[in-house]
Structures are given as structure tokens and as C-alpha cells.
Symmetry: C2
Subunit: 234 residues, 2 copies
């Protein structure tokens, strides 16, 4: 049940035509981005924003951090959060500075996090690890009891959210359309470069499947190659 104040909180007031009420598109954005920006009100009343890795797990968003982190403890104790996830997809080059902007997808989720404890905590950490590096948990040892005790895992229900998507072209007035200025978009792309072994890696240990799949899949999907002698142009 959504209260009137909650409706206000997720009502998109500017460029309301960009609002997208499609949970599948929200999930797509959450499953693609690695970093969320978490807003919390400090004890002194000031706003604080922290970047953190996150993972969607069904109908919740998982966060984790050290038990020594003041803001994680504050959030674990029930401070309301705003979790913002943004993708910058392209520059929109308009015929004027005023109409120039970005193609973006921007999601915001509100609520209060719950602590994830016990066996569910280790499972949630597996989800977070495999979100960053799919398949990695199967390649490494299990977390120790000490490591689990040092980690806070929090879950935010995906219930109060909004999504704003700008994916069009510049909306130039007729006088500019008739002029000589160019208009279009410049896609912004992200991906992974070739893996680099740690200086203290023992001889004879090969790049694991999780890492090579990550680099290959990303490069293939984007159709590009990083300066990497082992790859060729696609």
C-alpha cells in the first residue's frame, strides 16, 4: 500500500514524459550497472551520498560493507535511504546549447534496509560477488566466520521506485531546424580491458574462466576492442 507521501516521493515532477513504469526496464538497469549512489541523512541533518557496489536479488537490492563503516551502521539501524542508479548512454548534441543534453536512464529507490543475517548472509554475499564477476564464487574458497562477522549485508525492498529514461533526439525549435547547426548523438560506451595479473601472483596460475568470460563477453557485446595484443578488431 502506497501512502500519499510515498506517491509524492516517487512522482517525477520534471520531464514527466520520461517516466517509465515498467519493472522489467528497472531490473535491466539495475542488472547492468555496478555502482549505486546511496543517499542518507546524517545524524547532524546534512545529506551524505556514498557510492557502492550493489546487486539486485529478485525483489530487493543488496548492499554490503564493513561493520566498521559509520554510514552502513546508520543504514542498518533503519535510517531511510535513497538508492540512485544511473546510466549515461549518449550525449545529445542539439542545434543549440540549451537543447543539448544526455540520453540517460535514472532509477531511484526509497525505503529502509533490513539486515541480512545467518545463512542468508553468506548467500547474499555470493550474489554480490557473482554480480561483479559472474562465476567467481565457484572458483574461490568460502568466506570464513571472521570475514562474515566483519561484513554487514543490507537489503532494500524494490517497492517504492521510479525510473526516468531519456532516449530520444534533441527537440530543436523550427528556427534552429532550418539553420546550419548539426544535431545527433554520441554514444557513451563502457567495458572491460584486458585482465592484468597481480605482481604477487605465483607462476603458473592462469586467468580464471570468470575473468576471461567477463572480458570477452563485454567486448563482443559492444563490438570493440581495448588495446590488447591478444584481440583483433571486430
Amino acid at each position: 500500500m502506497t501512502s500519499a507521501s510515498e506517491r509524492t516521493r516517487t512522482t517525477i515532477t520534471r520531464l514527466a514524459e520520461y517516466a517509465v513504469d515498467d519493472r522489467a526496464r528497472l531490473d535491466q538497469l539495475l542488472d547492468e550497472q555496478l555502482i549505486a549512489h546511496v543517499g542518507v541523512v546524517r545524524a547532524d541533518g546534512y545529506p551524505m551520498v556514498l557510492p557502492t557496489a550493489f546487486a539486485r536479488d529478485g525483489d530487493r537490492v543488496l548492499l554490503h560493507g564493513s561493520t566498521g563503516s559509520p554510514w552502513m551502521r546508520r543504514v542498518a539501524d533503519g535510517a531511510p535511504v535513497c538508492v540512485q542508479v544511473t546510466a549515461a548512454d549518449a550525449l545529445i548534441v542539439a542545434r543549440s546549447a540549451f537543447e543539448s543534453s544526455l540520453r540517460y536512464r535514472s532509477a531511484v529507490l526509497f525505503g529502509v534496509c533490513e539486515r541480512v543475517e545467518g545463512a542468508a548472509k553468506a548467500s547474499a554475499l555470493d550474489v554480490l560477488t557473482d554480480r561483479l564477476i559472474p562465476g567467481r564464487t565457484a572458483e574461490v574458497r568460502r568466506p570464513t566466520a571472521k570475514e562474515l562477522a566483519a561484513t554487514l549485508v543490507l537489503a532494500l525492498p524494490i517497492s517504492e521506485w521510479s525510473l526516468k529514461v531519456s532516449d530520444g533526439w534533441s527537440d530543436d525549435p523550427d528556427t534552429d531546424l532550418a539553420g546550419d547547426a548539426w544535431a545527433g548523438v554520441v554514444p557513451m560506451v563502457t567495458g572491460y580491458g584486458a585482465a592484468i595479473a597481480a605482481p604477487d601472483l605465483r607462476q603458473g596460475i592462469a586467468v580464471p574462466g570468470s575473468v576471461s568470460r567477463l572480458v570477452d563477453r563485454q567486448s563482443t557485446a559492444l563490438g570493440w576492442s581495448v588495446g590488447d595484443d591478444t584481440k583483433t578488431c571486430t
Copy 2:
């Protein structure tokens, strides 16, 4: 002059060894990233985080938006902000899930924004436009009085800030160092793809210098090429 509460606000409490007190490195991050996440406390006391394009202009950070934006008006009226700028530089693949993390640079600035008005407002908008697309202001018409009136420009002094940089390798315990698990980093890279003309672009208008320089410079710097028939591998 920094008060005790202000020192607390920018004191890095977790992983304090990552704190970097170097204004040049802050500027480098601010000049490289296009999107900031702005935190503000809403009138109802809840936290709100909004992504927005920004530009550093000397000792201040410029933000802009519509006069119709409730959060911009709130910030213009003196609500304290937290401006967070993050670069995710690489995945740190450790020999355990627990030690795996990210290489990142994360800056946070606190303060109250001032409105930029009059002739300074048009100049500030030029800085913002040329930050997104260097050289673009010289290619397009000047903003109209109506466009300027519809835009709020805000400036946050760069005075109360902190920067946290993680740029190392995984810190695995000796028992893991002796094991068979791989460790290293996977660089995360961003760049621009080939420009795409708008469907309503009149015939015979070439891609402008600002756009072609942006795409070429970025590709050269990163040593990669996007799926683009006009480019070859570097």
C-alpha cells in the same frame, strides 16, 4: 576556517589510508567525469539523490537545471548539498570473495550553492556546454533571453571536500597467497562511439569539429575503437 563539525563531515572514517589530500587529484577527477550525484535533504526529512551533468570552473562546481525543478529550487534556496563524483577504474579480483573490490576514485564536496546570475550566468552555461562537448559553444547560436530565464545555474565552492582513491591490488592473507586462486585487476574503460546524425538533420550538414574531436581524442587516449566502419584498430 573549518569548524569541528565540518572536519568531521569530511573526515574519512573507513580505509583512511585511501584518503588523498591533493587538490590537483581532486580537480583531475572532477574534470574527467561528466555526472555528479547530488544529495539533498527533502522538506519531509528524507534523503534524495539526483544525477546531473556538472563542470568544475576554477574553485567552484557548476550545476544547472530547469527553474521548474523542485530540487534545483530547493538547492538554490540554500539547502545544504553533498556532491559526489565517482570513477570506477577497475575490478580488483582477489584470491577470495572477501578481498575482492574495486579500484575507484571517489570525491565528496559539501556546502551550500549560490545562484549565478546576469552575465555570469551565460558564461557559466558556456562552461557547462564546453565541458560536455569542448568547443561546442563556438559552433552554435547564443542562448536567448527566454532560455536563460528558464535555467537555474548554481555554484558550489570547492572548500569542504575529501577524496578517496583505491588504486592498488588485492591484499590477500598469506594462506591465500600460497593457494591456487588467481589475483589481478580488470580495467573498466569508458569512451565515445561514432556520432549518429539526428533523423531530422538537413542534408549536407557535416559532423562539427567539436564532435569529431571528442570521438577521436577519446578513442586515441584509450587505444580502442568502437564498432565503426570509418575507424581501424590502433
